[in-house]
Symmetry: C2
Subunit: 295 residues, 2 copies
């Protein structure tokens, strides 16, 4: 069973699961695990690791349109170095402070590989969560911020430019934007698997298609420097993922109000179409896949 | 830095952390990570693993005297077998149902070693949490249920008696008992590190000592079968841990009311003394350590 089939089993079995986070009586809960070998390239500081691991869960809270309230983390490592642990905690606390949440602690665990498990909580108050399933043909599809920062960071880590890479690797979870967009958005999720996969997941959940334009994508300036050519640039912007921006749909009539409400700039990248039209970029099918190494 | 020093760093740095769980606005949050090599002996079913992993976090909620509301888990494994995952989910849901909490889902992660990270939430309403720091000299010290079940289970796993071992390995988190005891208890924690370590941790937090009697310990009947001799029996009952019973202190005058209130039988194992008296069992110092293999 592949990971997606397993996730469907999880979701199908659990009435509150699915989407970016579970919802129970107005409380949003989401949990994530990151590993050194897959998520923290050589050169990632413990400060960045704490920021990024906790930020990834806060981003899931944002994607539901909820306020972030608290986060916890488990720090698992072969040994516990005081400086490393202190740096990690500062990162965890700082990313929480950036979105008005409280880092309320966590646990330690001895483990061969540096691994972090995080859980974030959010509050919807009386509002409904924004799910992945509400997009309607004719809606605009938009993203917050820029795409490709994490991809560019990875290239910089590979080149040994760790300082710039760490800066790019720390992202602001879009909690304030998610809250502001919630009253307008018909569907929303975060872009952690890349824009292409996000569109396919929204398409599946909403039974719709998407038409986007490559030129419309808000590609981060750092990508131009990191990418070898145009094909690579598109790969980094649309497939690499891990940017933790919000991908959302909004009725045409509400687009301007959504732009004005959001504290983070938003960019319209295309439109929602009928399901039969599939997910296309400049008229070509946009494959449902993450990053493929360009060789 | 050893794990305890690191945990002190965590607690000292975070106003809401420490104790068995963090508390924020009446919500209790706790998180844990378990690994195949250290926590799930050969023969542990995925059903038991799901039950036990989620149960460990629910036990931390119980130790604060809170009602358990929800739990999530991350299932990390090298591959995702449908039967394994389904069994794990059943175990996670069943242990939640046993304490009136909801299992609200989780996430999957590819990882070399089978690893589970769980988070449980609880609600205190308007009540104060029961901390580790309130024990007073003269109070009685008590435990819920019996001690040594997990130790006996481990021996049975080693002997290949996996069915009985799995039964013993699944425990009922003492959420109902924790709620009932909360109005009476002056300090409380769970016995996941063993009775001896729990007493030392309560002694440190409350600045007190403990005097317990070996004969007073409610040793689980399964231990007699598993232990080789009396020294081994004491080792399994007081040091092995992972029983997830509650260890708590209560004023003499409230002891009978606490007994009547608790849905789980409670046993008085000794008394709280002055800090200078240390932690003693039958007059001998009870070392602050977990399980030592008896050879």
């Amino acid at each position: 069973m592949d990971e997606r089939a397993a996730l469907r089993l999880l979701a199908g079995d659990l009435p509150h699961a699915g989407d970016d986070a579970a919802v129970l009586d107005g409380t949003v809960v989401t949990t994530d695990m990151l590993h050194e070998t897959t998520d923290f390239p050589a050169g990632t500081t413990r400060y960045t690791a704490g920021w990024r691991a906790v930020g990834a869960s806060l981003s899931d809270v944002a994607a539901m349109g909820a306020a972030a309230t608290a986060a916890v983390a488990i720090y698992a490592a072969p040994s516990f170095d005081e400086t490393d642990l202190g740096d990690f905690l500062r990162g965890a606390r700082d990313v929480c402070a950036a979105v008005d949440a409280e880092y309320v602690g966590g646990d330690l665990d001895e483990h061969r590989e540096f691994t972090v498990a995080t859980t974030a909580l959010g509050s919807l108050g009386d509002a409904d969560p924004v799910l992945r399933s509400g997009a309607e043909p004719g809606d605009a599809v938009c993203v917050t911020g820029t795409l490709g920062r994490s991809a560019a960071a990875l290239r910089l880590f590979e080149r040994g430019e760790a300082d710039r890479a760490n800066d790019l690797f720390r992202f602001e979870p879009r909690v304030a934007a998610g809250r502001a967009l919630a009253p307008h958005a018909t569907a929303m999720m975060d872009s952690s698997d890349g824009l292409a996969r996000s569109l396919h997941q929204l398409a599946e959940a909403s039974d719709c298609g998407f038409r986007v334009g490559w030129e419309a994508l808000p590609v981060d300036p750092s990508v131009a420097d990191a990418a070898g050519n145009e094909a690579d640039r598109r790969e980094l912007a649309a497939h690499f993922g891990e940017d933790f921006e919000l991908v959302f749909t909004v009725p045409e009539a509400a687009l301007e109000r959504a732009k004005e409400a959001s504290p983070t700039p938003i960019t319209r990248v295309g439109s929602v179409t009928e399901s039969s039209a599939g997910v296309v970029a400049d008229g070509e099918p946009l494959p449902d896949r993450g990053f493929t190494h360009s060789g």
